[in-house]
Symmetry: C2
Subunit: 496 residues, 2 copies
């Protein structure tokens, strides 16, 4: 199969003209209800047909007993019938000339030999009829650029430069949900299920060429074409970062994966080494997938392992030092020029070195900026609030809130100016700045959080998370090699 | 020093009759302002005096030039003057007959030799005058039982059975804040600072005997009396769990700790082994201190390492299996009786084993209960919402919210009943149940979250956290040994 052929097939799959929901239902809560509901709410410019072999009408639409009976052409079907009825539904699709499909239905290979037999049968029918399909045992996909979605439980998905392929529907949704909260826009979300036809590797190949996609995220339980994955990854990661969470790392986890998505996981250690060789950024927790994506979108890649820490808590500075050290970073001394600047602005209580801790006073942007400019650092980790000039808008205790609305407004403006200066310095010096602020990460109101989200400046919940993300970034930067190439990647996103 | 003497001294320190704030200030935001403000707001039944050698009046109180000039007796002082003025202030306290003090002031041993010299001088004056003190370079303490607090930035602290000793003021506050959010009440909070006089070990000894304290939490940068700590811990952990986060684990972290709290950390590996030998529960992140405390308060200790997993997401089930395996747990098969019950209530899509995954349907309490009763498990990890019968009250997408208020009320009642049944089964079978639900952990409204918080049923953000906490609990249970003794500990709390 040539790339052009795959591209054409998936272009149709992700942007169909006429959709049939086979197994459409009037019963609130059933998959056939939820999927049709979702398809109808993204209907604009395309036909949507309901297929139900018992009811004459579903959700106010005329229902056809079979997709074959639909009067007009149908190029795409979502199949949500019980597992034993899927082969017949797929046969009907072939007869009708459907080109691509999503099989939502579960109860197939993941449940044992009977289901596996039916699943093979479905795949055979589709192959014979030239139908490419996602699933079974999946949510299908979301394509915000075409305003079409088969996954029923998602909030509205913003368009953006990040694609997500997930072998778990639920975990994929969690990643997507968290990404949307953090201001990430998506080019595609694919829930790949049991991958009886289209596989993780097919989506990867497609997205590697997709002009709307700059970063590819993946949730993996088991790769069916390991060698192909690695060949693709080696090529793609030179232009687009690939961030993967691979679960099923232990014997028990692998067993659980088999009964979930019928995935056959290989040795985790071998895979880990292979990922490294191909520049794949591997993470260990769901939310880390998003945290790394946000950093890639918003920050220059670090050009080395020397980190400056600015913390308004001495305890957190120690925790940060431990965490950074474990990720292989150094905390070198401040330059004499930086020392002089900090001495002039802080009380003699301050820690007098790196980590910089004002020890009881508040940290300020004025202390951060000389650290960004200090040639001895490749990255800065800030702990204890972004709201550092004005200080109080986002995190201060109630007793320290601005006295009047006007004071609040002035603080907010000063804060926005300071963030702008920080971003400018960060880009000028090609140096990421990671803010660590605890629960404030979920703050959603006000101009400051909005500005941070728009700029893809993540707020990490603790120093360990900041250190971990920075570790992923520096290893990718080292993989890409000399400064220019990694900056090309970073500059490319920035230009968007 | 005998225990009785230490007890008497600290009893006075934690519940003084007449308080002088030395360095009290009219300037909003200064420590001398914040501390006096806090002392005044907890004034009831005790005298509070302001001492300021320049101003005639502070916050509407007559200000004395020195504590010596205060007309009535003063048994306790909070000192917030600049570091070089602390010795004179301490001398005045000796002259006045003050018995105990908190030295908030920083700029001492943590900043280098000059500060260390002044700090030794302060300690010498206090020792000579028979004054015990907390600090310097600290927030002091909070004693909710006596309604007294010197730490300025805390929300109101509920009384309860948990004590916290912290060598970092800020980290201590973070633990306390999170604890309060999670429904933990406190017997004491102590920010121990540089420990020039009273040390972590003194507080530990005191709290070991404290009738209001059942669990002792600690944030440690360096132990000044390692051997004494371990002797105390060995004795105390037979009756009261000790949960410690020890930072400064790496060379870089240790260096940062020295310039923060002047702590001298020993080898982390040695300490780790020593902690194990004494039954100390060691954790690695600030929030974990609280998570373990909540579980100890609300759950029976697990009596073995066999875990049943019930998950509404197959992907999360795999992640849970991996995480539990890494903590040394097993996921044995379901008993035939449990299999039969689950087969009768779930679609054939379900995973058909442990982890139990309904695969697209919702998990229900009806599936959880047979798992708790299954003699093959020592603990259950539930993933994907507590709201499982009614389902929708706390976590469901907006489209699935109850149609009317009345339906909502019925759902809530069903949910509360189901939680009660779950707790009863959990206690009957001496088996912890850990709920994993993502962001719902921060939900604060409604009867269901309230009931969960009151019952100390924690909601963990991801399966890794549930596995980690369960790992801490099982190792403590194994340390305590045969079933009876660990249950005694658990039963004791439950009786409160």
């Amino acid at each position: 199969m040539s790339n052009m052929r795959l591209k054409e097939q998936l272009d149709n799959l992700f942007n169909p003209k006429a959709v049939a929901v086979i197994g459409a239902s009037n019963t609130f809560g059933k998959w056939g209800y939820n999927v049709l509901n979702r398809a109808l709410s993204h209907k604009q410019g395309r036909q949507v047909y309901a297929v139900n072999n018992k009811e004459p009408e579903v959700m106010g639409l005329k229902a056809y007993r079979s997709v074959v009976e639909v009067p007009g052409p149908v190029d795409f079907a979502v199949i949500t019938v019980p597992f034993q009825d899927v082969p017949a539904a797929m046969e009907d699709c072939v007869t009708k000339g459907v080109r691509s499909a999503v099989v939502i239905s579960g109860g197939l290979a993941e449940t044992g030999e009977e289901g596996a037999r039916v699943e093979r049968h479905i795949a055979e029918i589709a192959r014979r009829g030239g139908i490419r399909f996602i699933g079974p045992n999946c949510l299908g996909y979301c394509n915000p650029y075409a305003n079409f979605c088969t996954a029923p439980f998602l909030p509205p998905v913003e368009t953006g430069r990040v694609a997500l392929i997930s072998q778990s529907g639920n975990s994929g949704q969690s990643i997507l949900d968290y990404g949307l909260q953090m201001g990430v826009g998506f080019s595609k979300f694919i829930s790949s299920g049991n991958e009886a036809d289209l596989r993780f590797e097919d989506y990867l190949e497609y997205l590697g060429q997709d002009e709307n996609t700059d970063i590819i995220l993946g949730y993996v339980e088991g790769l069916r074409e390991g060698r192909r994955f690695l060949e693709l990854a080696r090529e793609i990661t030179r232009k687009k970062p690939i961030v993967i969470i691979k679960v099923g790392r232990t014997d028990v986890g692998t067993r659980a994966a088999r009964s979930h998505s019928s995935a056959l996981a290989g040795s985790d250690v071998v895979l880990d080494a292979a990922f490294k060789q191909c520049g794949v950024i591997r993470v260990n927790k769901l939310h880390e997938v998003v945290d790394v994506a946000v950093s890639l979108l918003g920050q220059p890649l670090p050009q080395g392992r020397r980190v400056g820490v600015l913390s308004m808590s001495g305890g957190m500075a120690v925790i940060a030092a431990d965490a950074l050290r474990k990720e292989g970073f150094e905390l070198p001394p401040l330059s004499p020029a930086t020392m002089e600047k900090l001495n002039s602005m802080m009380s003699r209580r301050w820690s007098g070195g790196n980590p910089v801790d004002p020890a009881g006073d508040f940290v300020s942007y004025q202390a951060l900026w000389p650290m960004i400019e200090d040639g001895g650092f490749d990255a800065i980790v800030v702990i204890g609030g972004v709201a550092m000039t004005s200080g109080y808008a986002t995190w201060a205790p109630a007793t320290m809130k601005p006295a009047t609305e006007e004071v609040g407004r002035l603080m907010e403006e000063a804060e926005l100016d300071a963030i702008k200066t920080t971003i400018d310095l960060m880009n000028k010096h090609h140096k990421p700045v990671l803010f660590t602020v605890g629960s404030a990460r979920f703050e959603t109101e006000g101009k400051v959080p909005l500005k941070l989200r728009e700029s893809h400046l993540n707020l990490y919940p603790d120093p360990e998370e900041s250190a971990k993300v920075l570790g992923r970034l520096v290893r990718y930067s080292e993989y890409l090699g000399p400064r220019t190439s990694s900056l090309q990647v970073a500059e490319k996103w920035r230009a968007k």
